[in-house]
Amino acid sequence: MNLQDLMLSASIFVFLSLISGLPAGAQEFGVGAMDRGTKIPYQGGEAIYKGVCQGCHMPDAKGVIGAGAYPALAHNAKLEVAGYAIAIVVNGQKAMPALGPMMTDQQIADVVNYVRGNFNNRYKDKVSPADVKLARP
């Protein structure tokens, strides 16, 4: 292999890595169903609740009823077990989409703490990003 070959091989290698380096499914341009790449940009429990959760659980966290229902998070005894809330946020369940892939451990911890400390929920123990990490598949 001469120098020219080496340079060409190197440039092709760089090129191939660029092309193949895109994360699977992270199609930004209108692929729609394939968009697993975009992340939730909001920071802090309240901002995340308002920017994400209230779409279904409603601004007052009282839920809403259609052919099925979105459960109230307000005054919700199931939230006593913080790990339960974390698991549902990370993996999704029933109508709830899996938010794990689009939120960081910190974001999930923040919003779980926010919901468990507001809307007539008075759970004192806080969850940490490390707790969230453990719940990821």
């Binding site: 699977a24 994400v52 109508a95």
Partner: protein, 534 residues
């Protein structure tokens, strides 16, 4: 023996080379990335089922008058079953749904949107295209005499845009595609000159490859992709040829390789070549909802509307379903049949008491529902056609609206036109659902105006549908992973006593109507076998 090894080696090299070309073109990578999400699966539909006649009087209750439920109902009725369908909405179709001027839509949370589109204008919040190989849904469209017309998926003159590339100025699809292909072809053509490649590709193959690359990438006589007749023949000239004097074309300047790569705009090229998006694609004239309407008309009084199912109970001999009036929540009633085909989405079904086995229950409960959101925007005039020469197809952007879909009907008409102003999944859809419909629309106008400065001046009215806010869906579609499919899929689809489930969530073509059709046919075929064996 020795020569056999050599041949094998040479063949392998050719294969690796082709694979490399494929990877560069984006197709292989795209295919691999998408199959695990259930895309690019061929339809299993061959013919409508030929069910023999059951014992007279054998009855089936079908829950849900979406595509799956209505396919099941029509085929079972035709076979001789007594069929009744219960539907939550006051109309047939389910997610097969088109909004027209005069319609109203109230989402969860209570906001009602009035659709103010002109006559002839419409918006499909759900499915909007029919790939030519989705033979099942096409069969029923044909059976129901639905006129179909071409759906323009690809438009070389539409825009590809990123706020982070080329100063936020959109490029035309043809420019990005030609530049990407051209530079890749040039690079590979150079590669053929190296001694490294001499070892892996025969001299004859190399010559063919060079010729193919010249052709594919629009390279010039020196195997270069640069400003000139060849590149302009693909990406389009800056000034077109004409007649008479001053008719000399002016060639356009390709973007350089680094710029094209860093722009990330090449994302827009590969995915549109996937199996589902290959031309020709079709749409029903007048909106996708025409299919649901025709199914509903065909089934007539067999469908009972405004029924909210509250309980599903089976025993040794029958299935009994309790329901109330969906509008009032009152007037509880019951319906019974020998068997039940349940097409209620798992997002809803998981909340309805139903005595099935643990395995089916676990399968229903575990499917999370993916988020999606679409916005229809009516503009006072078809400026994308009149000013930008974009007739159908779609533009892509890295903004949270993801795309702009142009109407692929009534081209050149002088009145208003409805554009798909946003079609998103995942995080952007979830965030949009947390906003009011008005806010979603004003966001879409903001994003769209980066591609079309005419947007705000020409805006007339809009409607935004976020599927997690749709009262009868609570999400868009079943969101399987490879892992959850391995664990639960067969359990979801298997007959449980006298109940079988169907719908896109019980298919390997999630989100597609073809998934609903093939799932329904598979479910009733197995159900019928059980009936005949019982």
């Amino acid at each position: 023996m020795g020569s056999g090894v050599r041949t094998e080696k040479a063949a392998l090299s050719r294969r690796s080379l082709l694979r490399m070309v494929g990877t560069l073109a984006g197709s292989t990578a795209m295919y691999n990335a998408m199959t695990e999400l259930g895309l690019a699966q061929p339809s299993t539909f061959t013919n409508p089922p030929k069910l023999g006649a059951p014992k007279p009087g054998t009855s089936v209750l079908v829950l849900g008058a979406g595509i799956a439920g209505m396919v099941a109902a029509i085929e079972l009725r035709d076979a001789g079953y007594q069929v009744q369908v219960l539907e939550y909405n006051g109309r047939p179709g389910g997610r097969n749904w088109t909004l027209y001027g005069g319609d109203t839509y109230t989402e969860l949370g209570g906001v009602t949107q009035q659709v103010k589109f002109d006559p002839g204008q419409y918006f499909n919040p759900g499915p909007w295209r029919l790939p030519y190989h989705h033979r099942g849904i096409l069969h029923y469209a044909s059976r129901l005499n639905i006129p179909l017309e071409p759906f323009a998926q690809h438009n070389y003159n539409a825009y590809v845009h990123s706020t982070d590339a080329f100063g936020g100025k959109p490029r035309r699809f043809r420019e990005v595609q030609a530049d990407f292909h051209g530079h890749v072809a040039e690079l590979l053509a150079k590669c053929t000159q190296t001694s490294a490649l001499n070892q892996s590709v025969s001299k004859q193959d190399k010559e063919i490859l060079v010729e193919a690359l010249r052709n594919w990438g629009a390279l010039d006589g020196d195997l270069r992709y640069k400003k000139g007749r060849e590149s302009s023949s693909r990406r389009g000239p800056r000034v077109d040829s004409g007649g008479g004097l001053n008719s000399v074309p002016v060639f356009s300047d390709p973007d350089d390789l680094g710029g094209v790569l860093k722009s990330q705009l090449w994302h827009a090229i590969g995915w549109g070549h996937d199996f589902e998006y290959q031309s020709p694609i079709f749409q029903p004239k007048g909106g996708m909802g025409q299919i649901g309407k025709a199914f509903g008309a065909e089934l007539g009084r067999l469908i009972k509307y405004n029924c909210k199912v509250t309980d599903i109970r089976q025993d040794e001999t029958s299935v009994t379903v309790s329901y109330v009036d969906a509008r009032t929540g009152k007037a509880p009633q019951r319906a019974s049949a020998d068997w039940c085909v349940c097409t209620i989405p798992a997002s809803i079904l998981s909340q309805i008491p139903m005595n099935v086995g643990k395995k089916m229950r676990a399968a229903i409960d575990q499917i999370p529902y993916g988020a999606s959101m679409k916005i229809g925007l009516q503009f006072k005039r078809r400026f994308w056609e009149q000013d930008d020469e974009i007739f159908g197809g779609m533009s892509y952007t890295n903004q949270p609206n993801a795309m702009i879909g142009y109407p692929t009907w009534d081209y050149f008409s002088k009145g208003k036109g409805v554009v798909l102003g946003a079609y998103v999944w995942g995080a952007p859809a979830i965030m949009a659902a947390a906003k009011s419909p008005d806010q979603r629309i004003s966001d879409a106008l903001e994003y769209g105006s980066k591609l079309h400065p005419q947007y705000k001046r020409e805006f007339d009215s809009g409607v935004a549908v976020a599927w997690h806010r749709v009262p009868w869906m609570l999400g868009c579609s079943g969101d399987w992973t490879e892992r959850s499919r391995a664990e639960h899929y067969d359990n979801l689809c298997s007959l449980d006593g006298r109940i079988v489930l169907a719908g896109e969530h019980a298919s390997r073509l999630p989100t597609w109507q073809e998934g609903s059709v093939t799932s329904a046919i598979d479910a009733i075929t197995r159900l019928h076998k059980r009936v005949m064996g019982a």
